[in-house]
């Protein structure tokens, strides 16, 4: 267990002087536990609108998959008094979410009433003054856990978004390869070394590389590097980028790649190769594993991510609801937010997307066994004593794309092209430093805080 986490458990996050980043870590954990504790199946109307809310346009930066879109259109707005026009940013170009909101603000004419986006999106919107306060809505919905509500204030006194749902990344294995797991290893407390030994044993046993990562351009490999591998070895995102520990992490990655399915470079959603059994052991976002776990709950097992020398680092994902400043129908937008936080709507989101609700309640029996297994893995991961949350970058704004590119380029150069690790880390570290020098963004968890000064790559 890291010292940061010890500290978290000693002090109640509610009583501390407010710090956005540390609160986010703490609340993420607490909130997730509360939320995963359950969800009532029966729809229980919360402070629903009485009169018609009119035409409401909801813009989704998440849930852009075709099946997700269709399900949301069909089921989530059921019972809402008003006409909802849901618009989705394409999965392949998530930046369009922020771009469109910016463009509408520039054009001086807004068409969107409700924004469904990630915590990081709202940080950008708030920085640029594009969203309005939604304090009244957050107060009306009683079932939201306080720490999560606090995150939605983005370090201010105003509630800028209402937390809606959350997700993370886990590992999944086909039960056929459990026999290749290293002796004495606990599947719920694996180390990176054991995962490597496992991948190697799978190749020896099956004759093929059956460990897989989503490394295509639309896959989330960069999140594996940023939020899982590197912080687990170095204890941070940025500060230790060029450290000895980082060299060890990349050496590890290079060795693991030897036993990774070569088609990993074409995988975007690991559920597909897991279903076709091209991959028997993999890692991905819960929403991108959901179909596989739903369809074959008896053949697949979900479990927490491994632990490195420094920590068991994982990346939480928080989805929230907000209203743009220039929304044409803000009252309707608020009504829709209230509707989307009802247990019924949240249950639909869970079964459609694999994102777990932020609001409390009991887990329904009607939720598929696959999702229950996924929920259990997420819970174990969050409760693991050595777990550390690595948050998405905060305060680097439009440089978010470049930030991820640096990790992916480092991967390509070291792992695929076999370049010298120290040399690559030096060059890419310089590029990383440029982002922070340019934006002035301070370090965020799990990197040690840098106060108001820009984060520094050591």
């Amino acid at each position: 267990m890291s010292t940061d986490n010890d500290h978290e458990h000693d002090v109640s996050p509610w009583d501390e002087p407010f710090d956005r980043r540390s609160a986010l870590i703490k609340a993420g954990g607490v909130g997730a536990i509360l939320a995963l504790g359950g969800l009532a199946g029966a729809s229980r109307a919360t402070a629903g609108p009485v009169q018609n809310a009119g035409d409401v346009t909801a813009f989704f930066g998440q849930f852009g998959g075709i099946a997700e879109q269709e399900g949301i259109r069909k089921f989530v707005f059921k019972g809402f008094r008003g006409n909802v026009d849901p618009v989705f940013a394409p999965i392949s170009a998530p930046n369009l979410f922020v771009d469109r909101v910016r463009a509408e603000a520039k054009a001086g004419k807004g068409n969107i009433d409700v924004l469904v986006g990630l915590h990081g999106d709202f940080v950008t919107f708030q920085n640029e003054g594009l969203i309005r306060g939604v304090d009244d809505v957050a107060k009306q919905v009683k079932s939201l856990p306080a720490p999560l509500v606090k995150i939605g204030k983005l370090g201010t006194k105003t509630q800028f978004y209402v937390p809606h749902s959350q997700a993370t990344y886990v590992m999944v294995a086909n039960k056929d390869v459990l026999k290749y797991m290293p002796k004495g290893a606990d599947i719920n407390a694996l180390t990176y070394g054991q995962v490597f030994a496992w991948a190697k044993a799978i190749r020896r046993g099956t004759g093929q590389n059956r460990f897989g990562l989503p490394a295509s351009d639309t896959g989330l490999l960069h999140r594996f590097l940023q939020g899982f591998l590197i912080p687990s070895f170095t204890g941070g995102f940025v500060t230790g980028f060029r450290s000895k520990e980082a060299v060890a992490a990349w050496t590890y990655m290079r060795q693991l790649w030897e036993y990774t399915h070569p088609q990993s470079l074409t995988y975007a959603f690991m559920q597909d190769p897991l279903l076709s059994e091209e991959v028997l052991l993999g890692w991905d976002h819960v929403a991108r594993l959901k179909t596989a776990l739903d369809q074959r709950p008896d053949d697949l097992v979900a479990f927490p991510v491994p632990k490195g020398p420094k920590a068991r680092s994982y990346m939480p994902v928080i989805v929230g609801l907000a209203i743009p400043k220039n929304a044409p129908n803000p009252a309707g937008g608020k009504a829709l937010i209230r509707h989307m936080l009802t247990i019924g709507a949240q249950a639909q989101i869970l079964s459609l997307t694999g994102f777990f609700p932020a609001a409390g309640g009991r887990l329904s029996k009607s939720i598929s066994p696959g999702l229950l297994a996924e929920a259990a893995a997420v819970r174990k991961q969050q409760k693991a004593p050595d777990a550390v949350q690595a948050l998405l970058p905060i305060g680097i704004g439009a440089e978010g794309g470049n930030f991820s590119k640096i990790y992916r380029d480092t991967f390509t150069r070291i792992v695929r092209n076999g370049e010298n690790i120290q040399a690559v880390l030096k060059e890419q570290g310089d590029l990383l430093q440029e982002i922070f020098t340019k934006t002035g963004a301070p370090c965020w968890a799990p990197d040690p805080p840098s106060g108001k000064a820009p984060c520094r790559v050591k």
């Binding site: 392949s92 170009a93 930046n95 004759g207 093929q208 490394a215 295509s216 351009d217 896959g219 399915h261 070569p262 088609q263 470079l265 074409t266 995988y267 975007a268 076709s276 059994e277 091209e278 439009a398 978010g400 794309g401 470049n402 991820s404 590119k405 380029d409 390509t412 150069r413 695929r416 092209n417």
Partner: protein, 297 residues
């Protein structure tokens, strides 16, 4: 006299009225091209030659320094070198087959035209379902006992395999496009010439070489020109089949815009693609030039 003068006056007026007409008729096209092609192109150049700090070549510098640039360039050229010659031979053969007017030959036209009706991304995804490790091809190969273990066709460690796989998909998808142009050219060749050659005892290959080929040159020129321009824009099939295993110029332009959010470098890539397309077009125009007196008509 007076009657003649009276008759010519309206004729003159009519003539004057019609003189400007061609210009009016092409005006919509000019406006359309101006608004949707010329203006965006100027904007594209503007974007490529600028960065946050003002005018300069930093976008080009970033592009060239990026690890993916060389790879994208070489993979694009490699694809063109492999695909275009094979496609040309196939398209020429297909066009000759259609032009031979065999009984039931019409059915070939419909079969050949099928891939043209499918979007390139859909084609890429279909081919990826064929080539993936647990895909159709391996299932068939295993079924007939040709392989014991599924063969990994989409193996990014082997550039040759990736080029082959993409080439197969691209050839399937866009050979018909060349064939249509060549077929139209073949139909414009008067039968008399071919028949005359036949009377003088020319065999099939002699007819193709000495009669059909020279007369088809303008069509070949157009077909190669368009095919090369499209080849520099190849994108969806490569992405669908190779993921991040290989990259091409158009894919990098897209990535810099959509993923890295840097429209300057994306525009720099577009300028490079434009430059290469122009160079390829000029090359084809010069190499396959048909002197005016040798043209049909």
């Amino acid at each position: 006299m007076t009657t003649i003068a009276q008759e010519t006056a309206p004729l003159k007026r009519r003539k004057r009225r019609w003189e400007g007409l061609p210009y009016w008729l092409i005006l919509p096209t000019v406006v359309y091209l101006g608004v949707f092609f010329v203006w965006p192109m100027i904007q594209g150049f503007g974007l490529a030659l600028r960065d946050e700090n003002g005018w300069g070549l930093t976008a080009f510098q970033t592009m060239v320094d990026d690890a993916a640039f060389g790879e994208a360039m070489s993979f694009t050229f490699l694809l063109i070198l492999v695909i275009v010659p094979i496609q040309f031979v196939l398209a020429f053969g297909m066009a000759l087959l259609l032009n031979a007017r065999l009984r039931g030959g019409g059915i070939f036209l419909y079969i050949f035209l099928l891939p043209l009706a499918i979007s390139d991304l859909a084609a890429g995804i279909a081919w990826s379902a064929i080539f993936t490790e647990r895909g159709y091809l391996n299932t068939i190969l295993e079924g007939v006992g040709a392989v014991d273990v599924p063969f990994i066709f989409l193996d990014p460690t082997s550039k040759t395999q990736l080029v082959m796989v993409v080439a197969v998909a691209e050839i399937w998808r866009s050979t018909t496009f060349m064939m249509v142009i060549l077929f139209a050219g073949l139909q414009a060749i008067p039968r008399d010439y071919v028949e005359a050659a036949e009377v003088f005892g020319a065999g099939f290959f002699q007819r193709v070489r000495h009669v059909i080929f020279p007369m088809l040159k303008p069509s070949i020129q157009v077909a190669l020109l368009l095919r090369l321009i499209f080849a520099f824009e190849v994108f969806a099939v490569v992405i669908a089949l190779t993921g991040s295993g290989a990259t091409v110029l158009a894919a990098e332009a897209y990535k810099w815009q959509a993923t890295n959010e840097n429209e300057h470098v994306a525009a720099a890539y577009s300028v490079v693609i434009l430059g290469l397309s122009l160079a390829a077009a000029a090359l084809v125009l010069v190499l396959l030039r048909t002197p005016r007196e040798r043209r049909l008509r």
